[in-house]
């Protein structure tokens, strides 16, 4: 799990509905596949994504093995005012990667 990428609009107005796109590299191992020796490869996925803006949770995604490798998510937010996003990805091993990004509110 590494290299999260987040795309925000360059600027936004208060009350505007903006699209947020996120991408992170992760194998999203389903737990269904077998290695060449016939042993099941253990499940290892990102199971939770959260987006928080100015301390308020604005979006949450509970992910299962049916989500593709390198999970991509697009969602929306109505800009409440100036603030900073925190995006967080949590995997089956409990590892958490977070990315903070300020929204340019005009």
């Amino acid at each position: 799990m590494s290299k999260p990428r987040v795309k925000l609009p360059e600027s936004a107005k208060v009350g505007e509905v903006i699209e947020i796109k996120t991408l992170i590299s992760h194998v999203m191992e389903t737990g269904q596949r077998k290695d060449p020796d016939g042993k099941t490869i253990p499940r290892s996925i990102i199971n939770l994504f959260t987006a928080t803006f100015a301390g308020t949770e604005v979006f949450k995604a509970e992910l299962h093995p049916g989500i593709s490798a390198n999970p991509y998510l697009s969602f929306f937010m109505k800009v409440p005012g100036p603030g900073e996003f925190e995006f967080a990805w949590v995997d089956d091993e409990g590892k958490r990667i977070a990315e903070k990004l300020k929204l340019n509110v005009t």
């Binding site: 596949r33 995604a61 509970e62 049916g66 929306f76 937010m77 109505k78």
Partner: protein, 158 residues
């Protein structure tokens, strides 16, 4: 169908599940598992979300390719026609792939701050199947929609 395994007095939930199962069964090729008495994994997943509620068709679009050449990565967009106000908004959207080894694909949690009830991502589909979207509204009602997808090369491995 397999309603005999449930209580003899049909509840609204059983009616809803039965209706959903009937539609799905009609759309899918005949499969030996459909003849079994046990509810399928995707039916249980739908039931777990709906509880006693009967879903309403429509007011929601689930965009998926008609033919997915690569089942490992099938783009989808789900959108609900909702004002997303404090009084009337979408609380959650659930995606269920009826013929995946684990039917639950994702649950997205929304609130009025979302402004617009639309989410896009990419899913795995093991084979040709129906994909179901269920939206949970702030007034306790549910919306449900279903899309068939033809899969050329299945995802999920195994």
């Amino acid at each position: 169908m397999r309603r005999t395994v449930l209580s003899s007095r049909p509840s609204r939930r059983e009616f809803a599940i039965g209706a959903a199962a009937g539609v799905a069964a009609a759309a899918l090729p005949a499969s030996p598992s459909l003849a079994q008495d046990q509810p399928q994994a995707w039916e249980l997943a739908v039931r777990k979300i709906l509880g006693e509620a009967k879903p309403i068709e429509g007011k929601m679009t689930l965009e998926l390719p008609e033919i997915a050449e690569n089942g490992n990565t099938v783009p989808f967009t789900i959108a609900v026609d909702s004002p997303m106000t404090d009084k009337d908004h979408v609380k959650a959207i659930h995606i269920i792939a009826t013929s995946n080894p684990q039917p639950g694909v994702a649950t997205f949690r929304l609130s009025p701050i979302s402004g617009k009830a639309a989410v896009a991502s990419r899913m795995r589909l093991q084979r040709t199947q129906d994909v179901i979207g269920i939206a949970e509204l702030s007034d306790g009602r549910f919306l449900m929609t279903k899309r068939p997808v033809k899969v050329t090369i299945g995802g999920c491995g195994g």
